[in-house]
Every structure is written in C-alpha cells, then in structure tokens.
C-alpha cells in the first residue's frame, strides 16, 4: 500500500514537472515570429512518416543508422512494458498483463531482445564518441556540457536496460522456486543466460534485486523524462513536429522579405498594396532569437547535436569557424537564456544587453557560408541552419552596413553596372562578336 502511494506521488510529480517544462519550451518557441506552415497537410504527414518515423535520412550513414534504429525501435516498443509497470506500481500487482497468456510471454521475450538491441546500440554509440573518436564528436562546440549530456544519455540508457534484464533474471529464479507473488509468466531469451548465476542467492536477496531493479527502471524513466527538456535528447519528441513543419519548397529558394518588397515595389508599380504594417516596422534580418521565426526556434530545440551538418559543411571541412551545428546550439542556448530572463521577470523579457549575433555567433562564422545547403540536406530531422545564417547576413548588411569590403564592391557593381564585376552594361552582348 505504501509503495503504491509512493509510486503514485512520484508519477504525479514527474508528470507535473515535465508538463511544466514542456509548457515553457512551447512558450519559448512561440516567442518566434509568425510563419505559415499549414499548407499541404498530406505532404507534411508523408514527410514526417518518411523522415521521422521511417528515419529515411539516417541511412546515408549505414552504421549509425542501424544502431539508431535498434535504439529507436527498442525505446518505442519497450514503453509498452513501462505501461505494465505503471499498472503494477499503482495497483501493487505483479506482471498485471500476464493475463494475456502466451502473447504476454511472446511480448516479454521480444522486449528482452529489443533491450539487448538498445544496449548494443548505445554501447556502440558510446564507443564512437569516447574510444573511436569520430571526428564530428570532437568539435569545440561540444566541449563541456554538450559532451557530458551526450554521455549521460548513453549511460542512463545502459543502466535502464541493465536494470530491466537484471529484474527479469531475479524474477525467473523466483518463479522457478514457486514464490507465490511471482506468477509464472514471460519468456526470457536474454536474461536466462545469466539467471543461473543468481540461483545461489536467497529468496530475500532475489526479491531485493527484483524490487530494486524495478524501482530503478521506473524512477530512471521518470528522471529521464524530466531530463529531456534540459537535454539535446529532446529530439525524441520534437523530431515529429519538426519534420511535419519542414520547408516543402526547393532548398535553393530563400524567402522573400515582404518588408523590403513594400519599399522596392512602389518604384515599379504605383498601384502596389503594402503587405506589412507601416506602423509596426520590423528589423531587417536577425540580431537576436526573438527576430527568428518559430520554426527556426523549433529547429534549435529539436537539434540533437549529431553534427552531420557540420561534417558535410565545406567551410568547416576546410578549417573555417563556421559550424552549422553550433549555429543551432547557440540559438537554443540564447533562447533558454531569454526564457529564464522572462521567468525571473514575470513573463516579460527585460533587455539584458546581449544578443545571439555578437554574444553567441560572430560575423566571421556568418560570412563563411557557401549557402550550399549541405547542412540542410544532411539533417536527419530537417533542421535548416542556413535560414538563420541568411537572416543574420541580412541584419549585418541592411541594418548595420557591416558587410566585408569586397562584397560592398560587388553590391556597388550590381547597382551601377547590373553585374557583380566592373563591366559596362552596354558591353553585355559583346561576347557574340568576340
């Protein structure tokens, strides 16, 4: 009875805390500017199905894709067993779903195999980060918290899966001894390999191990759930909305700024009707996170820092400072800072003299970009770092007039000669005679 109360209190606390943090993240994302991504729901569902559920973009790198599938499928399906643990915890039962009989035995056996798959996948991931030292996990932007975060996730998953196995190992010994609380249920294709090693333990010790691992697993899950909002691991939830709200247009198209059209178009069409509100002028481009749109911000929270973008970036490959992953990490960090500022100030952002461009991202990174879309193509959850880079260039050029001198020369040439070089427009067709 007491254990059921403790369990229910823990469950309630973890759900409450999680929903509070999710609410904050939602609020932070919606601080972004408006953007209409409600068109073409059929194609959006399809994109989500292929990219997030089907993991379609992972397979350009087969080893990490295969390991990721193991962990992903395992985590999703083992949650069915967690459902049983919730029932057992609340009603003080043991293996409540065993009434399903043979199908239950199949499920438990299947979950054990999945758990082994998760364990293997996570160990491989840990080795790639810490022993093999895959290049994209070594970049400077991962120093400190991000590297700790990545390893904490992997180790937590190892602990959760080990607890599940150990619990089953103790359970099957107790079942074999005919302990009346431990009903004959389940099949144990994995844990039966090490269960005999526990056969010399007393009933009390086995029950302790079984109970300890059960609590470890379920408390681990509650803790993990509440760790998500602070972690890059949030991608397990946000990958789905983020792919649904993907950019469906050609990657080469950069959005048209209506505020600029409102200034330029009347020169060509006196009857032009302005699209933006002249009484509410907006900054051109992006200086800080609140200038970004909500999808840019959702992108930032969705990023799991895998670094495929950065490893495909021609500028990063050749040793420049630009790293598309860092652009996303900086955006999230700054947005979190803005969110905490609001929490402290009754929900209103109080100017702190900082900004995304300048304090987190510098112009050297922004000007290095080739706009080649390699980062956009690579992202397994359709994040668009390029959109943020372009917006920052817009701010530097149109608000600050801080473009590199050579680009100012190119602008002047286009303005005066209608070509990026110093040639006379009258000579444009001279090639015919050359």
């Amino acid at each position: 009875m007491i254990s059921a109360i403790v369990f229910l209190l823990l469950l309630a606390a973890s759900v409450w805390l999680f929903s509070k943090n999710v609410h904050k993240i939602r609020r932070n994302i919606l601080l972004g500017k408006a953007l209409d991504r409600s068109d073409n729901p059929a194609l959006r569902w399809k994109t989500m199905l292929l990219v997030a559920i089907g993991q379609g973009k992972m397979f350009t790198r087969p080893l990490s894709a295969a390991m990721h599938i193991l962990v992903y499928v395992g985590f999703v399906l083992i949650n069915i067993e967690v459902l049983e643990m919730l029932v057992d915890g609340a009603f003080n039962t043991h293996r409540a779903f065993s009434v399903l009989g043979g199908f239950y035995n199949f499920l438990i056996g299947f979950f054990e195999i999945l758990a082994l798959g998760v364990f293997i996948g996570v160990v491989v991931f840990w080795l790639r980060r810490n022993v093999v030292k895959v290049k994209r996990f070594l970049n400077a932007e991962l120093n400190g918290w991000p590297r700790f975060d990545a390893n904490a996730i992997l180790i937590t998953e190892m602990v959760l899966m080990s607890a599940l196995m150990l619990m089953n190992g103790a359970d099957q010994n107790l079942q074999a001894r005919g302990n009346e609380h431990y009903v004959q249920a389940g099949s144990f294709p994995v844990s039966s390999f090490f269960a005999p090693m526990m056969s010399g333990l007393s009933d009390g010790t086995l029950i302790f191990i079984e109970r300890f691992c059960w609590w470890l697993h379920i408390i681990g899950i509650f803790a993990f759930l509440n760790y998500l909002p602070y972690s890059k691991h949030l991608h397990i939830l946000l990958a789905f909305p983020n792919t649904y709200y993907s950019n469906l247009k050609a990657k080469g198209e950069i959005n048209t700024l209506d505020s600029v059209t409102d200034v330029v178009a009347p020169n060509f069409d006196p009857a032009y009707q302005a699209k933006t509100d002249p009484n509410n002028p907006q900054r051109f481009g992006v200086k800080d996170v609140l200038d970004l749109n909500w999808k840019n911000l959702l992108d930032a929270y969705t990023c799991t820092e895998c670094g495929r973008c950065t490893s495909a970036c021609p500028q990063n490959i050749t040793g420049k400072k630009l790293s598309p992953r860092k652009i996303m990490m900086d955006t999230r960090d700054r947005l979190e800072e803005v969110g905490k500022n609001m929490d402290k100030n009754k929900g209103v952002f109080v100017e702190d003299g900082k900004s995304l461009l300048g304090d987190y991202i510098n112009s050297e990174e922004i000007w290095a970009c080739n706009t080649c879309n390699a980062c956009v193509q690579e992202c397994p959850v359709n994040i668009d770092p390029l959109a943020i880079i372009i917006e920052m260039r817009r701010y530097l050029v149109m608000e600050q007039s801080q473009s590199p001198a050579e680009l100012n020369g190119m602008f002047a040439n286009i303005e005066n000669n209608s070509a990026p070089w110093q040639f006379s427009p009258a000579d444009r067709a001279n090639w015919i005679q050359d």
Binding site: P314, G319, I414, P420, P425
Partner: protein
C-alpha cells in the same frame, strides 16, 4: 568554326517573330572570358538544332543571386523587379539559363515578385534535345575518356537536378566516374553564397582545393561542370595541383558541342 547566330528579343519581336525560348546568358556567361566559351557552346547547340531563341542582350541584368545570398535583399529585389519588368514586357514564357544560380533565382525567387516563367537549366535542355532525337552525339571525341561530374549546389541539392547532366555525359560513350561526395552529398566548389566575390575566412584549406583534390583522385581526363562559377573554382583547383595538362575542366554544353564538332 562556324559563325554563331544570336538575335536579341527586341530585334526578333520587331520583325514580327517570337522565340521558342529565351536564353538567359548571365553575368558570368556575358563577361567572363572562360564562361563566354560556355555561352557560345550553348549557342552552337541551339543553332545546330535550329531552335528559335533570343537573348535580352544589353537589357539583361544580374539576377540578383549574389546580392540575395549576401543578405542584401534590397539590391536583390531591385534587380529582380527590373528584370521582371523587362521579361514581362516582352511576354516571355520560357527561359533557359546558362548558370545554375540564375536558374535557381529566376525559377524559385522571381514568382513571389511577379515573374512567372518556365525556367530550365541548359543541361536539361540538352537532355531534352537528345531525348527528342533533335540532337545526337556523333564522333568519338570523348569515347572511352574518364569524365568525373561535379554537381553544382544550385542545380543539385537546391533544385534536385542530378540526372540530366549525367544522362548527357553518358551519351558521349565516355566513362562517367563519380566522386564519393556526389549528387545530394556533393561538395560545394567554394564559390556559392557570394564567396566568389570575397576572400575566404581563415582556415586551413581553400574549398576549391579540397574539391579539386577529390575530383582528381581518379585521374580523370575531364572534370565536367554545369556552372560557370564551379568552372572557375575547379579550373583554379586543377592548376593548384599542376594537373591542367592531364585534366580539362569543361562544361557539359562544351562536351556536347566539342563532340559534335559544332
């Protein structure tokens, strides 16, 4: 070589004719000495199939791509609206471009500003002409030669045109070789995003050197490109490795024009 026949749209309309297609030459194709040869190769192909095409001539202006990608949306829209005014004034419906950057901008970014045209890249036009039997590859100038194709970002990833240039190359009876980073994984030549017009940021390598190194790894006879900017960057990269005598950098249009001795 035969004379090339090129008419401007104003000239053509004045004599009561309308073109099948407008050839958008682009700044590079108009002014850069190397790129002018690509422009002429495209014209020779169009002349060869007797296609009725026109150019804007001195009425063409920069598409605005480098301005837009540098963040200068004002300058981009000024250029775009000037060009759209001209194009719409002449009632243009279909455009072929000699440059993937113009292609992308006209195709994807002009519609929002009132410019709606069917826009294709010259490799797509050549592929269509080959498919329709209007153009065929004679002579074996490239037979058995190893050709490695470099995907321009603004043709490939940006607009997912991967096959047209490859299908054209395959018509040459040549050995089409692929780099490890090709198609959607293609590595930029280093020119895009207005990098063509400025020095690179501090690093340990130039992007075009990285890409040329990859292209040269299989010792190709030709590095085929489909963009005048890629052409410049890859040519410089090949020179960096002192391989200009073994490996030529040629546009897909030049391959076809040379093979047919046009």
């Amino acid at each position: 070589m035969k004379e090339i026949k090129v008419r401007t749209i104003s000239d053509m309309l004045a004599s009561g004719e309308t073109p099948e297609i407008l050839f958008w030459v682009g700044c590079s194709g108009s002014f850069d000495d190397r790129a002018k040869k690509i422009t002429k190769a495209i014209v020779r192909i169009l002349n060869h199939v007797n296609m009725k095409f026109a150019i804007l001539g001195t009425e063409e202006g920069c598409s605005g791509d480098p301005a837009k990608r540098s963040g200068n949306e004002f300058l981009f829209q000024m250029q775009a609206m000037q060009n759209i005014t001209v194009l719409n004034g002449y009632g243009i419906k279909k455009i072929v471009t000699g440059c993937p950057h113009c292609f992308n901008t006209l195709k994807n970014e002009y519609p929002a500003l009132g410019g709606n045209y069917e826009v294709i890249h010259h490799t797509q036009l050549v592929q269509q002409l080959l498919d329709q039997g209007k153009l065929s590859v004679q002579g074996g100038a490239f037979k058995g030669k190893k050709i490695v194709y470099h995907d321009p970002c603004y043709l490939g990833r940006a607009n997912e045109v991967y096959e047209a240039p490859r299908e054209v190359i395959q018509k040459l009876d040549a050995e089409l070789s692929e780099m490890k980073r090709s198609r959607a994984k293609g590595l930029c030549c280093g020119a895009g995003g207005a990098q063509m017009f400025k020095e690179a940021e501090k690093g340990n390598k130039e992007v075009n050197v990285e890409r040329a190194e990859e292209a040269l790894a299989s010792n190709p006879d030709v590095i085929a490109v489909a963009c005048p900017f890629c052409n410049t960057m890859m040519t410089d990269g090949v020179k960096y490795f002192n391989k200009e005598n073994q490996t030529k950098v040629l546009d897909v249009a030049e391959l076809i024009a040379n093979a047919n001795d046009l």
